[in-house]
Symmetry: C2
């Protein structure tokens, strides 16, 4: 069965982005600290086209995260751009050859034709809501899993609706103090998590949960 899997770096105080997020500052104040644990890893650097890097307990976690993913869902905030797309010149944060290399479905209120990028990435803009996006993504994944890629607003909608099957939290020992909290909805009381895997790495703790409802 194709699963919907969500993976996110989160601070000890529960933030997945800092305050004052904006077009030039997508992670918000201090948000880059949430991703610091990845930047030294050879497996991450290779995907980003960089040399060198190390291997540690986080390596296998990142590799596992990419395994058996056939499509990606993201929210409009993660794709970026504003309102009704204007002249359509905004094509995401990632340049001509985005690092996804598979079909990506963007949940949005604004219609737009499919964007075909280099390297196998396509961006399909879905106006019909989170269920419609999930249906399309599953179809595109041909039986493989679907990755839910954020931002937090979209991820929360899927979580609260009971549509996520697996959540991986990369728990970073830092505090952002304010920003975007992932888990701040009373309806989460109806969602049950079961511990699947715990991996201790030097600068982060990887916690994977199976989600029921």
């Amino acid at each position: 069965m194709s699963m919907l899997r969500y993976s996110v770096s989160i601070s000890l105080d529960g933030f997945v982005a800092g305050a004052n997020q904006g077009p030039d500052h997508p992670l918000g104040d201090g948000g880059e600290r949430l991703h610091q644990w990845m930047r030294g890893l050879a497996v991450w650097r290779q995907q980003a086209g960089l040399e060198g890097g190390e291997t540690n307990a986080s390596t296998a976690v990142l590799e596992e995260e990419d395994r058996n993913i056939g499509a990606i869902i993201m929210g409009r905030n993660m794709f970026g751009g504003t309102g009704d797309w204007g002249d359509g010149s905004w094509r995401g944060w990632w340049g001509a050859n985005p690092p996804f290399h598979m079909p990506v479905f963007v949940v949005t209120h604004h219609a737009r034709p499919v964007l075909v990028m280099d390297g196998g990435t396509t961006f399909t803009f879905v106006e019909g809501g989170i269920l419609a996006a999930l249906d399309l993504a599953r179809e595109a994944a041909h039986g493989a899993d679907v990755a839910l890629s954020g931002g937090a607003g979209t991820a929360k909608q899927y979580l609260v609706a009971g549509l996520v099957d697996e959540v991986a939290l990369h728990l970073v020992p830092t505090f952002l103090g304010e920003g975007v909290r992932l888990f701040d909805d009373p309806r989460l009381r109806d969602v049950s998590f079961e511990i699947l895997r715990v991996v201790a790495a030097p600068d982060v703790t990887h916690l994977t949960y199976r989600v029921g409802s």
Copy 2:
């Protein structure tokens, strides 16, 4: 060097107690779920005067938590009772023989003589604030560590003041939805945590951090 160590069970959404806490309901709505992982353990049951129970990865964590503790600090909310103590008949939640068996220092705004209980527990009521309580507790501990025992309000004061040396989070895969958050103060940005130990148990993940500032 005598350390101040704080240990607490916390939900995935960051709550250490549920909503609607009160004298008859000290953990708030759903708060008992945070402590469920302990109740089946032989080591916990023995302390509570109960028979049976099992041994798992959490056992060593609980044992370690009690090791080398010479005094305890708690907040007024944890000790219970209201206002200026009235007739002094409130002697804590725990009966004539509380499970502490050592000196306990209660941070309070209301003076009261020391309470000497059965089994070696004494409750000393400290009006001088968190630093005064820590000084007294360290002195009583004679070089052993001091345990910071909650509630959340008192623990936060010590954390934000940079006075805690070690924090153990027992991260329970459940959501309370609302209640008392442990980490909700922007000043936490100035506190640094370093991962010391991670222990995966069946129903809880034990995360121990060394605190700097």
